[in-house]
């Protein structure tokens, strides 16, 4: 029997809305006391076939390999040979040199926009090296390290950044939104997290076909708030898709700290647990831990044990992009005091500690990287820089909207050519 509705209590306390706030702002001393980085080597490494429910702790701790003593510790040590470690260090140094020069190029007016990945190099390069070269990657906008690791030519990257006449994307995309089918590198979107369900779909297709290739996506911690990320988790879990969902937790989404994506409540790795997806939380500034986690997830996917969500815990050492000024919203000291250090420095110290590297070789490598980037830049500039006329032929603007040019685009192309001739007296003023 339904009784009367519960009467409203007039003495109820007023509700209060919680709006997250980071621990420090410009001028404040950074406080990282809430971050428990654990001990390198302390985390167990389960078999790749493990049930996700049995490894829930790995979604809350940090898998770390490189210790304070610069040695590799514990079961997650991927035991890479020194040459592979030097290759990894070389890729990371190359990305850093590339970022430096491209950032400067934007400031010099050679292009409109650039995004560095400083401090996060290990989170793209190490997983790229752990995957097979024909595994499909669906990156976000800060994984230039994958292209470097896969041997994509620097000059093609720069041509794209300059939107010049040699840009393989025909000057249609914002700088750094690369695409290379040849390198199994999906076209980067500026819309966030859309790549996550696409990676799952690609992985499902590979499984439908009985292929052996797997897929991996990268997304920032801020973008895990997008519905697409959760759709991706649902589909990955439902179809046990051979996919790796990487979350790069670099603490900042432009000016919004990770609390606005839920970091005050739980970890991003823990997002996977509710879906029944194996979840790992990794020191993203430890290249060996990044490699080991990606290798584990790749083995798991390839053996039909299903998807893995990996949170790479790292720090965005620079601004979001050339259009951002992080000093307006966060403490400049955070970068220096980040408890997990710098990924390049840590790998370098490890190689030195095991007697496979030294300061002189490192300095020579940095110099060589800078020279290589400089040479590629000079070569790319022969194809033009943004806004200096050496772009793709005018008519290409109307191509690839559809496979074939429909009548209305044909009409608009003709109009555009008339406008060109009216302004310049010729359709091709720059030859």
């Amino acid at each position: 029997m339904a009784g009367p509705a519960k009467p409203a209590d007039t003495n109820r306390p007023a509700l209060a809305l919680h709006v997250p706030e980071p621990k420090c702002r410009p001028g404040d001393k950074p406080d990282f006391s809430h971050i428990d980085i654990g001990t390198a080597g302390a985390q167990p490494r389960p078999d790749e076939s493990v049930h996700p429910a049995q490894i829930q702790d790995l979604a809350f701790s940090l898998i770390r390999v490189l210790g304070e003593d610069n040695q590799a510790h514990g079961p997650w040590n991927p035991r890479l040979d020194p040459q592979t470690l030097r290759t990894m260090l070389g890729h990371m140094a190359m990305v850093r040199a590339f970022d430096e020069r491209m950032f400067r190029g934007q400031r010099q007016g050679k292009t409109s926009f650039y995004m560095k990945c400083t401090g996060e190099e290990a989170t793209s390069i190490a997983p790229a090296m752990a995957l097979a070269s024909d595994d499909m990657v669906f990156p976000s906008y800060r994984q230039q390290g994958i292209l470097i690791a896969r041997g994509y030519p620097l000059i093609d990257m720069i041509n794209q950044i300059y939107s010049n006449k040699a840009d393989k994307l025909k000057g249609r995309q914002l700088p750094i939104m690369y695409s290379s089918r040849e390198h199994s590198f999906f076209s980067i979107s500026g819309n966030l997290a859309t790549q996550c369900p696409q990676a799952v779909g690609w992985a499902m297709a590979s499984a439908i076909r009985g292929d052996s290739r797997i897929a991996a996506s990268w997304v920032g911690e801020g973008s895990t708030a997008e519905g697409d990320f959760h759709s991706a988790c649902t589909f990955a879990a439902v179809y046990n898709a051979p996919v790796i969902l990487n979350v790069i937790n670099n603490q900042w989404a432009i000016s919004s700290f990770s609390g606005f994506a839920g970091a005050e409540r739980t970890t991003f790795a823990a997002r996977g647990l509710g879906y029944g997806i194996a979840a790992l939380r990794v020191d993203g500034n430890d290249a060996l831990a990044c490699y080991a986690a990606a290798e584990w997830a790749a083995n798991r996917a390839r053996a039909n044990h299903g998807p893995t969500l990996i949170e790479y815990f790292t720090y965005r050492a620079e601004g979001h992009s050339t259009s951002d000024d992080p000093s307006a919203y966060r403490s400049a000291q955070e970068r220096e005091e980040w408890p997990l250090g710098d990924p390049v420095a840590r790998l370098k110290k490890h190689l030195i500690a095991i007697g496979e590297w030294d300061e002189a070789r490192h300095a020579a490598m940095d110099l060589a990287c800078a020279e290589t980037v400089k040479a590629a830049t000079k070569e790319a500039e022969k194809n033009g820089i943004l806004g200096h006329g050496l772009h793709h032929p005018f008519h290409t603007m109307f191509e690839d909207v559809y496979e074939e040019l429909p009548w209305h685009l044909q009409e608009q192309a003709e109009q555009a050519i008339r406008e060109r001739i009216a302004k310049f007296g010729t359709e091709r003023p720059f030859g």
Binding site: M136, F138, K168, L169, K170, R172, Q173, M177, S179, S180, R181, F186, S187, S189, N191, T194, C196, P197, Q198, A199, V200, G201, W202, A203, M204, A205, S206, A207, I208, R209, A215, G227, D228, S231, A232, T234, F235, V238, D400, V401, Y402, E403, P406, W407, H408
Partner: protein, 350 residues
């Protein structure tokens, strides 16, 4: 002639299907012809779809070719884009067009622009099937006609069949097309060519000439309109359910209309539109979707731009009202015979 022998071609041509059966047959044929074709969506697998469009296909082609999906339109379209990048040719179903909005970013920002932004490196050859339109007492969340949201997007094609014959041939064309196609199925005419006279008995497809559906593979090309009937007094531009409603109203009023079934909204068959309006000098545009910024506005602008000096009267638009689709008052919303009749009178009065 012995009954053991196959029927002659003429007899085959008399085979009649409703629109659901025609769509099912198109999917069946494409699943059989092309191992890249994948059919997926909410309830489309074992059950065969809430409208039965995929009935029997999972049993025939297996669970990895025809399967159910989570209730996530964003996910359905998103994974379809990824499957397309792999090299498959997915045909996702969105159970009702009203449910497509969570998938819009994946359609507009991703599928529609993938070829362009990757300079042809990747394509999204998906065909998104979705029942649309009202007149079935579906209320505001099972009745909408959102085609103008998609015709506005560069890179998408938008197709609306009006007959079983076209539904099959257009769907085969859409699946084979290398661009993403939005394929809206007017669910009011799944089972019969609705005349718009909702208080009169509904005719089944079997009495309509365009329910004759050839067996096997054939295509109706995208971008080609169909002349439903020739006439001299004025041109009707319509698609989907409204083709049949306009036809019935013109017949009831005894007017000599030329009726064009556009079939594909983008790319539009502008030549067919021009040829007809230049001949008749008058143009009536009919759609069920809301009026403001509806596809009729685009048609009206195109007719004015291309045929202005042939026009003898202002272009008339008959549409749904700019309200959500009301459940109890759906026939007051629906652009039925009274609204169309009034527009015809206005169009012909001078």
């Amino acid at each position: 002639m012995s009954e053991d022998l196959a029927p002659p071609a003429e007899a085959q041509a008399e085979r009649r299907l409703n629109m659901i059966e025609a769509i099912n047959e198109a999917l069946d044929i494409m699943l059989a012809r092309d191992p890249d074709v994948i059919v997926m969506g909410e309830d489309v697998g074992y059950f065969g779809g809430v409208f039965r469009a995929t009935a029997g296909l999972q049993a025939k082609y297996g669970k990895t070719r025809v399967f159910d999906t989570p209730i996530s339109e964003c996910g359905i379209i998103g994974v379809a884009v990824g499957m397309g990048a792999y090299g498959l040719r997915p045909v996702p179903e969105i159970q009702f067009a009203d449910y497509i909005y969570p998938g819009l970013d994946q359609l507009i920002s991703e599928a529609a622009r993938l070829r362009y932004r990757s300079a042809g490196d990747y394509i999204a050859p998906l065909t998104v099937r979705s029942p649309f339109g009202g007149g079935i007492f579906g209320g505001q969340t099972h009745s909408q006609s959102p085609e103008a949201l998609f015709t506005h997007v560069a890179g998408l094609k938008t197709v609306v069949p009006a007959t079983p014959h076209d539904a099959k041939g257009l769907l085969i064309s859409a699946i084979e097309d290398n661009d993403p196609v939005i394929f809206f199925e007017p669910k009011r005419i799944y089972n019969g060519p609705f005349s718009g006279y909702y208080d009169k008995p509904v005719a089944p497809w079997k009495t309509h000439p365009d329910s004759i559906v050839p067996e096997g593979y054939y295509k109706v090309p995208l971008g080609k309109a169909r002349v439903v009937q020739e006439g001299e007094a004025f041109t009707v531009l319509a698609y989907g359910t409204m083709v049949h409603v306009a036809e019935a109203v013109c017949k009831a009023k005894g007017v000599d209309a030329e009726i064009l079934d556009l079939r594909t909204l983008v790319p539009l068959d502008i030549n067919a539109v021009k040829a007809s309006v230049e001949k008749t000098g008058r143009c009536l545009i009919v759609h069920e979707a809301t009026r403001t910024s509806g596809f009729g506005a685009e048609l009206s602008a195109l007719v004015t731009e291309h045929c202005f000096y042939h026009l003898e009267a202002p272009v008339e638009r008959v549409t749904g009202f700019d309200t959500p689709y009301p459940h109890s008052l759906e026939w007051a919303y629906f652009p039925g015979p009274v609204r169309i009749g009034e527009a015809i009178d206005k169009l012909l009065k001078d």
